[in-house]
Symmetry: C2
């Protein structure tokens, strides 16, 4: 039996160099507020407002470092509040996704695509994947114990040297399972 | 294999006769907007605002008919927005639950208990329960197919003549499973 700690992702966004400059100013650099468990990834001091046809979500956190493309990760609850229909997607697979308006302290970006509901996934280093008996891109199940226990199907494995053992899911999924952060969950290959 | 249709419950409340009078006026009676699948149950035209220490949820729907005790059913997402910590409970088991403020057009009720996260459950008539091979108060699992497929553990069976086949879960649970209303879900006794 192989277990990994849960990591529940609240709504957040990754920004491109171009959008960072528009939102926060020409020479702005992202400020690390807290390092995350995935190597090199960090939560930033910076936040932006997200505006959709039905509503606005205020002060949504930026995660660093900058990426080639801006990507907004919402729960289905968030997407409904904004009035957007976003697909469940793996990070970086942004073709055909909807956009929204990003409002920063220095400027506004009309994003024409990049909004996703993140596909739940398990990060593992190469060594951890070998120990767990799973491989990169495999779809597995993950079991959560407790009062709201359940077994998630269709959980993507992301294994490699940029990864560290953690089960990433969104706030809807965390709430449905009654999960807090850092709770050990069993992988079912 | 026995399947029942999903019924996703948004936040709502049931009101006592006493609280109905305070919220909507002395001689007010609940107005049916739409009959629900469970026999005799209906969504009302009436709504109230719910206020907690951290926020307010506007226009939350009342379900009829009136009940002996007022009961507010939220998702964990809703409870966090209000700043309330509510337990997962079976309907009617309200001992030790938190309260909040109900704001109606004619008056305000300071509820001292009655707020729950509803325990997910399957309604079945006696005949349906017999056919499915389950009995009232049994805890079973329910399987949801699809892109966000999963198996919910700890699903309560509520069987009897006041019930009709339907799998009730809240919006967090529905979102986590990528479910719409009326999707057939398999019972796993």
């Amino acid at each position: 039996m192989y277990k990994v700690p849960s990591g529940i992702s609240n709504k957040h966004l990754h920004v491109s160099e171009r959008d960072l400059k528009i939102l926060f100013g020409e020479n702005h650099e992202l400020t690390c507020k807290k390092m995350l468990k995935q190597p090199g990834q960090f939560a930033c001091e910076e936040t932006v407002d997200l505006a959709g046809p039905k509503g606005t979500l205020k002060r949504v956190r930026v995660l660093g470092p900058v990426r080639p493309e801006t990507q907004v990760e919402l729960s289905l609850t968030d997407a409904r509040a904004l009035g957007i229909t976003a697909p469940v997607r793996e990070s970086g697979k942004l073709e055909g996704t909807p956009g929204l308006t990003l409002i920063g302290p220095e400027g506004t970006v009309e994003l024409d695509h990049g909004v996703i509901i993140a596909l739940r996934h398990v990060h593992l280093s190469d060594e951890e994947a070998a120990e767990a008996g799973v491989s990169d891109k495999q779809m597995i199940r993950v079991k959560v114990e407790g009062e709201r226990g359940l077994v998630f199907d269709n959980v993507l494995v992301r294994a490699g040297k940029a990864h560290s053992a953690e089960f990433h899911l969104d706030t809807d999924e965390g709430n449905a399972a009654g999960l807090d952060n850092g709770v050990m969950c069993e992988l079912l290959p």
